[in-house]
């Protein structure tokens, strides 16, 4: 049996996306900028895909800019806002548990003279709202925060940012990395009160190599790349049509998010109950985490041997996040976990395709691992 529990790393493309990618490579393969009928047809596909993505965010299609993925969107949003706004100040507020695609670019900006305030998280992996209010000052030019943490699934108080910015009478733009939240919980930029929002295709059963940046109507940021007129010059370059068409199709194929969320909660609660029965399992995710992500420590077994053991039995999980394999988790360190728990974190992440049978199989494998791996030692 195979059981895939690494959906925070990537998801299996849905049939609709696969079909759309093939269609954009075999039949509708034109350059959307060309003025002939083949170009026009490609342009229609481009705009249809844009509308599909915009519909999921309840925004207008003019607010969606396609990029090569989450990393590029985060980089573009952060540098674009920082450079645009630098005449107002140098201060950027973020958290200490951002994804590397935000964190590393912030470090680079620090090297250029920007001041980056990284808010600490509590034991639940969340920043304290009071800290946020104190950190945002009148010369803050950007606040960037992830909506759902990729390692433990904690949900951040993104909605409070606009309150903090308003209270400080700050010119700051607000960016949210919603890669892990998109398609898994209701994500509405207007409701979150953000100006910029990052999403990615391959986390919602679309192809890799494409994502988008939502830029609220009227908000201006500086581009990072220069060339043609595509994507309103924010992200020039001939559009990656197969990937974009696949993204659009995957967005269209997203089921009712609220219902999915309820389903995932039920499955997660079932899994947690079963894991608790095994004993010796600690839960690193907070209770109110996004139910699609559960981070646990099977005490006494290091992450890597457990991951290998499960993989040999057809079960895919991850040790922390896929983007920084091997390194000690920054998020768990920040949360102040004990040394022993830090040795053995395993991230189990669901998708809408996750079944109860898969969960039962995972539980069985972990049970056996506890005997077998100890026996090896």
């Amino acid at each position: 049996m195979q059981a895939y529990f690494d959906n925070s790393a990537t998801t299996k493309p849905c049939p609709e996306a696969v079909e759309a990618v093939a269609y954009a490579m075999s039949e509708n393969w034109g350059n959307p900028s060309s003025l002939h009928f083949i170009g026009n047809k490609a342009n229609e596909l481009l705009e249809e895909s844009r509308r599909a993505v915009a519909d999921v965010l309840s925004c207008t299609s003019g607010e969606i800019f396609f990029t090569s993925g989450g990393t590029e969107s985060n980089n573009l949003a952060i540098t674009g806002a920082a450079y645009r706004n630098k005449r107002f100040g140098k201060r950027i507020v973020t958290t200490s548990v951002e994804h590397p695609s935000s964190d590393e670019i912030l470090t680079k900006l620090e090297g250029e003279g920007f001041e980056v305030i990284r808010l600490k998280v509590n034991s639940e992996g969340k920043v304290n709202e009071q800290d946020l209010f104190e950190a945002v000052t009148q010369d803050t030019i950007l606040v960037t925060m992830m909506l759902v943490n990729n390692e433990v699934g904690s949900i951040m108080p993104v909605q409070s940012i606009k309150r903090a910015v308003a209270r400080a009478k700050s010119p700051a733009l607000i960016h949210c990395d919603a890669v892990q939240a998109f398609g898994k919980m209701p994500v509405k930029p207007t409701q979150l009160g953000v100006d910029l929002l990052t999403i990615s295709s391959h986390k919602i059963h679309g192809p890799k190599g494409v994502g988008a940046l939502y830029i609220r109507k009227g908000v201006k940021i500086n581009p990072r790349a220069f060339g043609g007129e595509q994507e309103m010059k924010i992200r020039p370059g001939t559009e990656a049509m197969p990937a974009i068409a696949g993204f659009g199709a995957a967005a269209k194929a997203l089921p009712d998010v609220k219902k999915e969320l309820a389903d995932a909660t039920e499955k997660r609660d079932y899994m947690v109950a079963e894991l608790e029965k095994i004993g010796g399992v600690e839960f690193n995710s907070p209770k109110d985490a996004l139910p699609f992500v559960t981070n646990i420590s099977v005490m006494g077994i290091k992450s890597e041997p457990l991951l290998n053991y499960l993989s040999a039995r057809g079960v895919c999980v991850s040790s922390g996040s896929a983007c920084s394999k091997g390194k000690k988790s920054r998020v768990l360190t920040e949360m102040g976990l004990s040394h022993e728990r830090m040795e053995s974190p395993i991230r189990i992440s669901f998708s809408r395709y996750t079944t109860k049978e898969e969960i039962d199989y995972l539980i069985d494998c972990i049970k056996n691992a506890k005997n077998d791996i100890r026996a090896i030692k």
Binding site: L35, F37, N40, S58, S160, R163, V165, K169
Partner: protein, 391 residues
Amino acid sequence: MKEVILIKNGELALKGLNRRTFEDMLIKNMKHRLAPVGKFKFTVAQSTIVAEAVNEDADLDRAVEIISKVFGIAAFSRAIAVSKDFQTILKNAEEYLADDLMGASTFKVEAKRSDKKFPLKSPEICREAGGYLLNKFPHLTVDVHNPDIVVNIEIRDEYAYIHGKQIKGAGGMPTGSAGRAALLISGGIDSPVAGYMMAKRGIELIAVHFASPPYTSERAEQKVHSLLRQVAKYSGRIALWVVPFTEIQEKIKDYCPEDIFTVVMRRMMMRVAQDICARERAAALITGESVGQVASQTMPAIACTDAICEIPVFRPLIGMDKDEVIEISRKIETFDISILPYEDCCTVFTPKHPKTRPTIQYVEEAEACYDFAPLLEQAAKDARFILIENK
């Protein structure tokens, strides 16, 4: 507790005995425009229209976005309607406005009491509610002159309404209250703005676009669709007629002196548009002309164009500078579409040295070289119909 939208209909209040008709029209427009969001119920009380979603999960953010673009509304606000128990009012004000209050440093409370049976008088409501909120949000201070946020409490007959800031509406008169007119649209910056401005005065728009393939592309026509879709967010849906204009333009080129091409072309356009108006019961034409902008928009040129018009031609941009037009086009978000670089019917066969002071006699002589009438009639007949929805 339920969330509603309170709508103030500015100029309509001045309409005396016709007011009810205007209000009904406004409500009908709002109902139609809000249809994609869901069904809404409207009640009118003391110059305020209360819009309430029938189904609970209706997306009010989208509804507000739509309402902000409906003409005939001076101002509106999102509010909650709660039962008229003072403790309930306080509790709900605290929860409902938490977002705004957390984001503010200073505030004040304003109260209106149209139900005089309510036990507290307006100043008492302000004082009590102010004290309550100060207690709940210790970071706030009261500033009655220049507060970051005003907490409004309105005690009306059935409910108490609580709302924060009031949002400016699109202004103007309800679409349709002034009748119907045809907008001549090319794809440039001006015509969408002209359409928007006349729609604002209550005119229901239809649109006429002249397509000259192969001189103009399919993209140019799509651009017009996009522009109208944007205008339709304000004006409501627009019936677009796309007139096949190639042959007429070619004949102008073949038979008329070059220096007068554009004026002749404009006169032909006016004639076809008038035919369409007669058929579609539109009572005027709308163009984006502004005096002196180009050779065909000098006073003598406009006089030549007007000479063949039997219905009024509205030119709302006539006295405006390009900057001013661009400012509006940015506001209604047509600018970025307008500047897409496709040839339109007006730039085909542009003369090198156009006559800036044409006389009617000169133009009429030029036109007499060819019998345009049958072509014009046919063009109006062959016009393609496309309904531009406000989505």
